[in-house]
Symmetry: C2
Subunit: 123 residues, 2 copies
C-alpha cells in the first residue's frame, strides 16, 4: 500500500474508516453535497440519495478488510472486502474524486448478484 | 494516475493493453502458471483455468477505458470500464500481485448480474 500521504487517499481512508465503523454521520461528512455516484444500482446524485444507498448496506455490514488503497492529489482507488449478514464475502472497489476534503464523484464496483439473490431468498 | 514507474503497475498495464487488444496469447504471457484468481465466478487456479475465464470475455469485448491505475513494487490496483456485446458498460477492478513480471494473484471485482441477465435473455 503506497501513497498514504496523498490528500485524496487520506479522505478516502477516513471515509472508509467511518462507514466500516457504522458511523454513517461521520462517513457523510466526507461526502460532497453534490456527489455523483455510479454503481451497479445506476447513477445517484446528491448526498441525500447517497446516504439512502449507503445506509441499508452499513446496517447489514458485519466486517471489512482493506485489500489495497492508492491515491494522488485528486483521485483515490481502493479495494476492500466486506462481510454482510446475507453474503460472507462481498468485495468492492471505489474510485473517488476528492476536492477540498470531500468526495465529489465515486465510481463503485461490486457484484450485485449475491446480494440480490440473498434479498430474494429472504423475501 | 500515478506510479507509472511501479514494476507491478507496468505489468498490470501491459496485461490490460494485451487483453483489451484481443491479444489473449500476449495477455497470458503476463500470467503466472500458478496464478490464483478470486472473482465473482469463485476461485480459479492455474493459467489454463484463467485462460478459460478470460477467453469468452475477450470475445465479447468491444471497447475499454482505463479509469484509474496505481501500483507499487508488488501490487497494482486498476479500475476500468468495458463495453461488451451484451452489456454497454461493464466496469471492473483488479488488484494483482506481481512477481518477476508475472501476475501470481488477482482479485477481480465486477458486477456479474447484467452479464448473467444478458446471457439468460439470449439463451
Amino acid at each position: 500500500m503506497s501513497g498514504t500521504a496523498s490528500p485524496a487517499l487520506r479522505t478516502a481512508l477516513a471515509y472508509y474508516e467511518a462507514w466500516t465503523s457504522h458511523d454513517l454521520d461521520k462517513a457523510m461528512s466526507y461526502i460532497a453535497d453534490d456527489i455523483v455516484l455510479d454503481s451497479p444500482a445506476g447513477r445517484l446524485e446528491g448526498a441525500e440519495a447517497y446516504r439512502g444507498f449507503m445506509g441499508p448496506f452499513v446496517q447489514i455490514l458485519t466486517g471489512s478488510k482493506m485489500i489495497a488503497a492508492f491515491g494522488d492529489d485528486e483521485t483515490a482507488l481502493v479495494m476492500y472486502d466486506t462481510e454482510t449478514v446475507p453474503v460472507k464475502s462481498a468485495p468492492g472497489a471505489e474510485c473517488v474524486t476528492v476536492k477540498d476534503g470531500k468526495i465529489t464523484y465515486s465510481r463503485t464496483v461490486f457484484d450485485s448478484a449475491p446480494l440480490v439473490a440473498a434479498l430474494q431468498a429472504s423475501s
